[in-house]
Subunit: 487 residues, 2 copies
């Protein structure tokens, strides 16, 4: 118990404010549809409402919560709104939020097994569960040569994979001597920007990341990959890493992992498979084909924080040979030495990631899986895919619009036939309206709109309203164009 | 509101379970002194208590919370215990936990300003507050050429700093062409292991990280640094980064930043200052001298999650020239383009860090600062330093023990005079007892014990009990030794 004049929040206050905050969050979720999805704040507006000087003396929690309502809420883009169709869903849930709260309340550091054995073992266990739930190859299980670890994001997972590939290709000498300008890595021209960022961070350089051309469905051309590898080898370069994507960010394109995998195996190159959003679909047997070829992969990741009701941050990263990853990232200064580590009987996750410290992130994943069960999770994934397919059918049936890419799962890429300017206008109007939020990309150098379905409470009525609004705004733009040409 | 047969946790259930969990956390904190601080779990014990198969159908929250009590708690090393003296405090607090809960409840992604303006602007604002609170040089303010950003850990902050230094030294060409084996970096032999890890990750290589020798107080010898830089330049190498430490992990040694800074400025080398735990002390004017010389630094970090009542993860990373950092880490794929970014009027924090996505971490920091006020934070920092100084005085007064390093703040390094074996035994007994948890390091090749004071509710009685226990166990070991020699 805290001292009397301690400035600390007392146990009674914590209960009172905690209950009030839980209720505030429940109310917030109930009010979500009343807010404009995309914040209308202007640059600097939030800061202008905050005092320039930090407080000399403590303030009441009620005052802080009132400021959240008054100052913070207008600056929120509501990712949890059922009308959020931008980027990727990042869908939270009650059990996810509560699991995160428990992690904060326990306040443990899982950098070593010994610094909280439950933090490490629950993580290993839940990641083994997930490997079963997605039917991943057995080598990714901790009982085999591999295992899973929670990273903050797929960006970090891809960087770890690239580093392990770099080390394996140089017989673990680049860790010691640094890079020498000869390493090359490969991904498709449609891969996530984090691969380029990883190549820069890892000392490989973006000029040495080959962005392999894609086919009409925006998937990597395996023959082009094979050709590039051959040319690089002839030039005396050292191919060390290939990243294939299962569900690209732009259009949900699915690279042919079986074909790419065979090339990587033949060439002895580390294959990482990034299934950040789409991997969750493999919870359902009917979508599991997206993981065909994963038996060739050295590492794999997907993000429960994207489409599996688990609060950010939670990327699940699997390796087929944990020894290679650990050898790449291991450090063991004296102050971290301990008997459990030296026994070799435990996992120390600090050697599976960039940072040293780590939160107890598996709690939220454990809560989500146990709350929904496999059955509940499958129900929602199927529901979301169905909604997206319904939306795609509406687009196809409207001659003013066209689909711009295959829609294999929950992301629909489409555009108005009147060209980039109309689509830009259309998106701006839709997002300004506050009724929904969607984002764009470019495919084949044409601006295309992306409608991504996966928010926890997105239902048919939201998708229907979105489509109606899209059609209406398109009509308005056409009307404006006619009026302008007449005037 | 969710559908009827949705599998989702209803609003009513969320309130009910949320209140129960808040109470569980309050009870947990009230019970903290009843648990052995260091978990007594054996490797594999937690996993053995968990079902090998994931659940097909959902389970009740009550069942999950019961398993937390039964299965998870025995596997927890209680970082929040007032008897936790290991590593660093990682002290959480009521407002910190609630700020984190609010972040989970809002569930926003702050990768771009537009994806929640409040997430970016509150972070910038609170980091400007902190710069004022620590009296950091004005260049680190966002209103100047620099600014602050929250990273997960000092490891990641140091990596970002190293990358920016690498790029600046190569005229931003290593991002493009990769490293060429000529870059060298510098830190002291007592610096945190994350600097070595960063050198490996960044393609520089640990052979090219010079571990500069330290003086009798375990601080870097500036003359040795200058000499090494000169030798490296003569050898045609390219010095790009120096990391100075304010409060080393092993012993809280404080490098001479003024002297190191002058060398770096003269040589045009990026200087990063890592004050992970100790930086918080600068909240008090009487400890601000630890930051002398910071006007020479290009970047600086300290961790409110170490000693400022803010739940992990929260490292505050400041740069003097944000342009250099952004140029190093920036990526802008089409799907992230937006008007606010293109206007140049906003900060997009994705370009200030390794991952793309980010949580709303400034909420917990805002809550902590507002709850305690500067006054409350100063009160506790002074209290912790006083307790550590009291402990150091007891050690000094006992002829069986000796201090093994200066104790400038809240960390005391000490050892029993009977050598390594006795100290190892002593630590093992203490930690096995469950009464307290402390860790060790090696200084001058002698095993030394570290007692780090900073837990939220650590008071004089806990430190007094710890010292009493240490003396008792030392007596027991000496007694055993006498009995053994007689037998």
């Amino acid at each position: 118990m805290p001292e009397a004049d301690s400035f600390h929040m007392s146990s009674e206050e914590f209960r009172k404010h905690g209950h009030a905050l839980i209720d505030w969050i429940a109310d917030y979720h109930a009010r979500l549809e009343t807010f404009p999805v995309l914040s209308r704040a202007q640059p600097g507006e939030i800061r202008a409402a905050l005092p320039p000087e930090p407080p000399q003396n403590g303030e009441s929690f009620d005052k802080m919560l009132a400021d959240v309502e008054k100052i913070i809420l207008p600056g929120i883009t509501h990712w949890q709104s059922p009308n959020f169709f931008a980027f990727f869903p990042s869908n939270a849930s009650g059990p996810g939020i509560l699991g995160d709260l428990l992690s904060s309340g326990l306040g443990v550091q899982g950098m070593l097994w010994a610094t909280s054995p439950a933090c490490t073992e629950l993580e290993t266990h839940v990641l083994d569960w997930l490997a079963q739930m997605l039917d991943l190859p057995g080598k990714f299980l901790s009982s085999s040569t591999g295992g899973g670890v929670i990273q903050d994001t797929a960006s970090s997972a891809s960087l770890c994979a690239l580093l392990a590939g770099r080390e394996r290709a140089t017989n673990f000498s680049s860790n010691r001597r640094g890079c020498d300008g000869k390493l090359v890595a490969y991904t498709s021209a449609q891969a996530h920007s984090s691969i380029e960022k990883a190549a820069q961070i890892a000392g490989i350089g973006r000029d040495n990341l080959r962005l392999i051309e894609v086919d009409d469905a925006f998937a990597m051309r395996p023959a082009a990959l094979a050709g590039q590898i051959a040319r690089d080898r002839s030039a005396g370069l050292v191919p060390c890493f290939v990243c294939a994507t299962v569900g690209t960010t732009s259009s949900n394109a699915i690279d042919s992992v079986p074909e790419i995998g065979r090339i990587c195996r033949e060439q002895g190159i580390w294959l990482h498979v990034d299934a950040a959003m789409s991997g969750t679909a493999a919870l359902c047997p009917e979508f599991r084909h997206i993981h065909d070829g994963l038996e060739f992969a050295d590492s794999y990741c997907f993000n429960p924080h994207k489409w599996m009701f688990t609060n950010f941050d939670c990327d699940c990263f699997y390796v087929a040979e944990r020894a290679a990853l650990i050898k790449t990232l291991s450090i063991l200064p004296e102050y971290l030495r301990n008997k459990a580590t030296e026994s070799g009987a435990v996992i120390d996750y600090r050697d599976w990631q960039i940072p040293l410290g780590r939160r107890f992130r598996s709690l939220k994943l454990w809560f989500v899986i146990r709350h929904y069960g496999i059955e509940g999770l499958q129900h929602h994934i199927r529901r979301h895919v169905n909604l997206a397919q319904q939306f795609a059918a509406w687009v196809k049936a409207d001659e003013q619009f066209e689909l711009t890419a295959p829609a294999p799962l929950n992301l629909v890429c489409f555009r108005h036939r009147h060209g980039d300017e109309t689509n830009q206008k259309l998106m701006d109007r839709l997002n300004r309206s506050g009724a929904l939020y969607l984002t764009h990309t470019r495919l084949g150098d044409r601006l295309t709109l992306r409608l991504c379905i996966g928010q926890t409470n997105t239902e048919l009525r939201h998708v229907r309203a979105a489509w109606k609004r899209i059609q209406e705004e398109a009509e308005n733009i056409s009307g404006d164009a006619v009026r302008n040409s007449v005037a």
